[in-house]
Symmetry: C2
Subunit: 282 residues, 2 copies
């Protein structure tokens, strides 16, 4: 079921970037290179699952759902730049700035960012745009990325790393569920339940990411293992150790499943997804 939804997202992404004689070919090629390099498609799938859980057909909102993948991809492209993490490998392929000129990588990231907002606005619902703008801005993802960059080489506390995880990763995952519910006209209570679930799996997702950077298989991950260590990054295992990191991730997943059980039979795919996040190897 998750695989079907991922295929639906992947198929939609393939033809999502407009191309015309008015648009530089290299820009479209660069955007598609990063966007279609694979990936779990977690964020658009969460939008679609939230929407579907309210009895709606996910096909109706494929474009705004995919906007979240455009945003995630733009953030990875900029994160990989030489002045940031300076990574060579992403999703099993050379990072965008290794494959294209660095200037094109910066601009392709910017272009995915702008296009995502255009797609979100195509719903006609300005609330959605506002929610996503807030989640990925200074109080959300970008705030977390700055804190992450500034944590490099410093002694950091559990509070610091929790801040970074909340902002850098959980905010975007949380808002994916939130806008899926909002687009389906869910009531406040349900929007809240889905958001809390999203926040918890988002935190767990990043802890597992930190763990996989130490224990993972580079071929499966499609990115360099040990990148956090190389960049002296603040990570969960570094601050609390590997055992406690695993315990905390499992605890968050349990909490998330508990929260989502309140929605009844519709909780099944969310429970499955929560377990997938805990046990993933890529």
């Amino acid at each position: 079921m998750l695989a079907d939804m991922r295929k639906m997202v992947n198929d939609h992404l393939l033809s999502l970037i407009p191309s015309s004689t008015e648009i530089p070919e290299s820009l479209v090629a660069a955007m598609n290179y990063s966007l279609n390099a694979g990936g779990k498609r977690l964020r658009p799938i969460l939008v679609l699952l939230a929407y579907e859980s309210l009895g709606k057909d996910p096909k109706e909102i494929l474009t705004p759902a995919c906007a979240l993948e455009l945003i995630h991809t733009y953030s990875l492209i900029h994160d990989d730049l030489p002045c940031m993490d300076d990574d060579d490998l992403r999703r099993g392929k050379p990072t965008l700035h290794r494959q294209f000129p660095e200037a094109i990588a910066v601009l392709a990231g910017d272009a995915l960012h702008a296009l995502a907002f255009e797609f979100l606005a195509s719903t006609g619902d300005a609330r959605i745009v506002r929610e996503v703008g807030s989640a990925i801005g200074i109080s959300g993802m970008l705030g977390g990325q700055v804190a992450d960059v500034e944590s490099e080489g410093k002694d950091i506390t559990l509070a610091d790393i929790d801040y970074i995880h909340r902002k850098k990763t959980a905010a975007l995952i949380e808002v994916s569920l939130k806008i899926g519910a909002m687009l389906a006209n869910a009531d406040e209570k349900l929007i809240h339940t889905l958001s809390v679930y999203g926040f918890k799996i988002g935190l767990a997702f990043q802890i597992v990411d930190d763990i996989l950077d130490v224990t993972g298989d580079q071929d499966k991950l499609g990115k360099q293992v040990g990148s956090d260590l190389k960049n002296l990054k603040a990570t969960y295992p570094k601050v609390v150790g590997m055992d406690e990191s695993r315990r905390r991730a499992a605890e968050l997943i349990d909490e998330a499943k508990d929260v989502i059980s309140a929605i009844g039979p519709q909780a099944a795919p969310f429970t499955y997804l929560a377990d997938f996040i805990l046990n993933r190897d890529n």
Copy 2:
């Protein structure tokens, strides 16, 4: 009158970036550094003028108008990066990546980009978000920036340089007028008139920019003179010569004034602004 409006914009920009304990101080400082370094504030002023020409109070839309300045500033920050134009000076001060770590400059640009969309969405009007997203995306500003980067060192034609100017500069200036009119609920005909005026002054603005890069005074411009030449950029003077560039800019300004005269007595500030763009020395 233009000075009053510029002051209104500058005052509003001073307190526009939210700050809280949840937001990294360095990020807010970097955003404010670039945003409050001065500048003509042309784009927000155009939003406000269009709105005011329809009998509305510009104070009502200061935040969405300033969103256009956030977008312009983000584009300058990324444009100045070492992998792009590698400029040291902007608005009379060191460029952001010279004053802050380069990673913070990239992320501050991204943060201004996201915040601009949040502000635009705060109008509740998703059409505005869509228009701006389209104007600054792959069919607009970013398409133009890629073409600009790729023109470096190449033989280019008048058609190429016109494409770059239309996309890189005129699209954002045009959409400033368009959304000002849309926010005031103007009819289609008036929106079109203001858009055409905006497109023409936008093209003239960039030709004058190209001219000033050759003939301008660095102290007045607040940025390096000769930057285009250094970067082997495609410019109007390079392709058609200085005299023809001046003639074309003046012709576009005449056409813009002619178009805007159709709106009657409300045309006065637009006529004044068109002349200002042609005769500016910064």
